[in-house]
Subunit: 519 residues, 2 copies
């Protein structure tokens, strides 16, 4: 039974008192490595603890502690009267060949082999890099003002919520989120967007993408087609792909999304994703006729509509049309909203209002198909809404953003006439600069975006919002998150870039307008 | 051009001063409905505002406000000299037929038509309901103590973080999470779990499921096979299904997960998901031999391992084996941990440590395939870890849970002898009660779980952790989240339930042990 013990080679243990690891850990680790790397073969007898302590110039107890751990871990075994030896049940093939010894953590022999679907995603998503050095100023898309949000109040609400959290909240929560927040959202929608919904229908999510994937996952089969707007929010097709849904881009016209054009492209689609209140990126408002036609299609074909109420809160003149959800008589519309763009992006709280017929179904399978949103800020946000801080914040930022839009237009009139045509928009958080007709034939928005970035100005290419051709070129200028004093300097740099445009029109890496957009 | 205006029928508008909606909204809404429901046909002339105000007994300005909105929305049109009439471009087919009129919001004609994959999920996930009335006491799985966490300190850290947040944090954050938290996690792992990793390798996620889906999505093709432990954490196959991966359950034995058995079942798998430190639900520790064999397989076949360090932090005696990640020489192991179970479930913060070769790749496609975790608590958690509050919390709860486990065993010895055999466990947060041999042939853990719930005690059926047969029956008793004073009363009720077990063994709806487990 007891094989003849092999004589131990010198252990070559080196102790380093300056290391943070205690000496017994250093000893144990080095013996462990020696075993794994086959420098200490199976059955090899270790020197006695007394001898090792002498050689290492440390207390014998230190060596014994190390040996105890190695015994507990199964690396060495002890037999009465015959001392300590390396375990014999660590079969050779399990051990690490000497070739790979000593590589630092995480070092890998080569590039990992990746599946096709991952490689496909990588080819679509180039690394976006700003030029080394100066940070970019101005014009991020979908960004609120960084100072307008009352963070001191927010900190107070968070602290109030968590000092003594309700057990139901700190414990295992409902997958749809904090009950108080779901109620606050329902009341807010009734007052601000004019439709009644049960708090039970509200699902708190961590973003518009999650809302879209979740809903598509519930109502559609893998491989089904969905109509999306072309151009549109670039995250949308990714969100649908996550639910294994095929997005069919439908070109929008002056009246917005056209159900007729959509039917011609993909007659069998059973879901349409639209942003009727203020289309992204064009700002088009879906006409009442189209709204009714779309609802009629959904009803007739038992299909679904996702209404992305993009920018619905920011309207500076005129009156918004009623949302589709308010017109929906047959329960075919899921309504999406997001707080990240209204308050601050890191909030990562959005919501989805389900059609009543899907509430229980989604509740039952939610945790299997989606990760519920973090509850950390939900109670604070509920108070923020219910105590009318949200309404006050929206009133303040509406004035702020309206004045920023005006400043942008005034600055463009001063500096960009004959280069870029920028029309005002009664709503939203960005404007579109279209090349003036003199500039047009040579204008490439990807190249201009790269050139602007080189001049430390952030703009986003309109063409990046298209999935296919034909692409219209233009620049998206987000003004909401741009401090007013940055607008004129940024526009002047842009003037310089556009003036010298015809000399340098090599597009850099393809950029998509989603990069700075957090929803 | 101007069609002959049709005479208006009586409008039958009813104003209700007790409603919160202002009168002009009530008027507008009722005219809008009348148009949509075709009670007011296209081209119909509306009564004059003066007349309407008289009939409704309200100010003329109220009526004019309502009409203005209807004009802006496109429902009615005005022509000089001919008053207001219903728009003619609302084609008949777009309008809502009278049949569906008057349904309250959200009412739907019938059950929605659901895709196959949703129906499949629904059939697996029955609605779990506690009996009406009394709340269940004792034995939730995966739940920490509700009072042990220092919420006052937490509230302070949250408030500190958000009073004046760094713009980089409040703005568009890195998809892998808060840099401070990623650094704190890396330091914590080095100190507590004995392996070095770069903060860049740490991805903050909102749960173990998200970590698993994300990793599987990056390294595997749709339809690929993955080895999982049988029995095991029921969320695991759902998380893999979300990445379109086929989970192959591999029965575990006394030495834990067997790579040999796994190879026999699915030789082409390229990912293994294991919980080596304390298997869920059995508590088995994967032997060193098996650990090395698994690492060797991964290296030889260029495959991957997800190491779910389940319950790694709760060990009451003995010494844990080194994690697979610490033994991994070739960068094939992704390591998972979760804070939700250590601190409080609503936190919903977990993490995934990527192999070095996958960091950049995952960074580039993260937002396309997964929703980054909320940043709200990440800064506070970073401080909680870095300032050693986590270590202190773990020391306190280790003592607390060890004493709860003892109390549970003592109580079971008093009341369950001859009914349920409960062995101690050197780690974890739950124990398994196995039917005593007298009870065994008739024992059904699903039926017992239902009977216990009827007696207001929460237990979880061991059989619910199996995906296939053969199933072993037993009860999971989570003690960590059970106040000590609840243990004895709950065990006495269980004694009563088990004593009367042979009379009433109709299983209720199939229950899975995941229900109370939030990770």
């Amino acid at each position: 039974m007891a094989t003849r013990a092999r004589k131990a080679p010198p252990l070559r243990i080196v102790l380093d008192a300056s290391q943070s690891a205690p000496l017994h850990k250093q000893i144990g680790e080095q013996i462990r490595r020696a075993i794994l790397e086959r420098r200490l073969a199976a059955g090899t007898k270790l020197p006695s603890s007394r001898l090792m302590a002498m050689e290492l110039n440390c207390a014998r107890g230190t060596v014994l502690t190390a040996i105890d751990h190695l015994i507990a871990e199964g690396y060495v075994v002890t037999r009465a009267g015959s001392g300590i030896s390396v375990a014999t049940n660590l079969a050779d093939e399990m051990l690490i060949p000497p070739g790979v010894v000593g590589q630092p953590d995480g070092v890998v022999a080569g590039e990992p082999i990746l599946p096709k679907r991952t490689r496909a995603l990588l080819s679509h998503k180039p690394v976006m890099q700003s030029p080394a050095g100066a940070p970019l100023i101005a014009f991020p898309i979908g960004q609120p003002d960084r100072l307008a949000f009352p963070f001191a109040l927010w900190a107070k609400l968070l602290a109030q919520e968590w000092r003594k959290p309700a057990w139901q909240v700190a414990g295992v929560p409902h997958p749809f989120g904090h009950p108080g927040l779901r109620e606050a959202i329902a009341s807010y929608l009734a007052a601000a967007r004019g439709f009644a919904c049960e708090p039970e229908a509200v699902v708190v999510t961590s973003g518009v993408r999650q809302s879209v994937s979740l809903f598509a996952r519930v109502v559609l089969e893998a491989g089904d087609a969905v109509w999306i707007e072309e151009p549109g929010y670039p995250g949308m097709d990714e969100a649908l792909a996550a639910a294994e849904i095929r997005a069919v881009p439908v070109p929008i016209d002056d009246a917005g999304f056209s159900p007729e054009a959509a039917l011609a492209l993909a007659p069998n689609a059973h879901l349409a994703v639209v942003a009727p209140s203020h289309q992204f990126p064009l700002g088009t408002v879906l006409t009442l006729q189209r709204r009714l036609a779309l609802l009629n299609w959904a009803k007739r074909t038992k299909s679904w509509i996702i209404e992305d109420d993009f920018d619905g809160e920011y309207r500076y003149s005129g009156r918004p049309l009623a949302p589709l959800r308010a017109l929906d008589q047959t329960g075919r519309v899921a309504y999406l909203g997001s707080f990240s763009k209204l308050l601050f992006p890191a909030l990562r709280l959005s919501f989805l209002v389900l059609p009543a017929s899907l509430i229980q179904i989604t509740e039952r399978i939610m945790e299997a198909i989606s990760t519920p949103a973090s509850l950390l800020g939900q109670g604070a946000l509920a108070r923020f809404i219910a105590d009318d801080h949200l309404a006050a914040h929206l009133r303040r930022t509406r004035l702020l953003y309206a004045s920023r839009q005006q400043a942008l237009i005034a600055s463009a009139e001063r500096h960009l006439t004959g280069l870029l045509d920028i029309a005002p928009d009664p709503g939203g958080m960005h404007l579109i600069g279209r090349p003036h007709r003199d500039l047009e034939p040579a204008f490439n928005d990807q190249a201009t975006t790269a050139a602007a970035a080189a001049a430390s100005v952030r703009v986003s290419p309109l063409s990046g919002c298209y999935r296919g051709s034909p692409q219209t070129h233009g620049l998206l200028l987000g003004y909401a998150g741009t401090p007013e004093e940055d607008i004129d300097p940024a526009i002047m740099r842009l003037q310089h870039v556009l003036g010298g445009h015809r000399q340098e029109s090599q597009p850099g890496p393809m950029q998509r307008c989603s990069a700075t957009q957090s929803r």
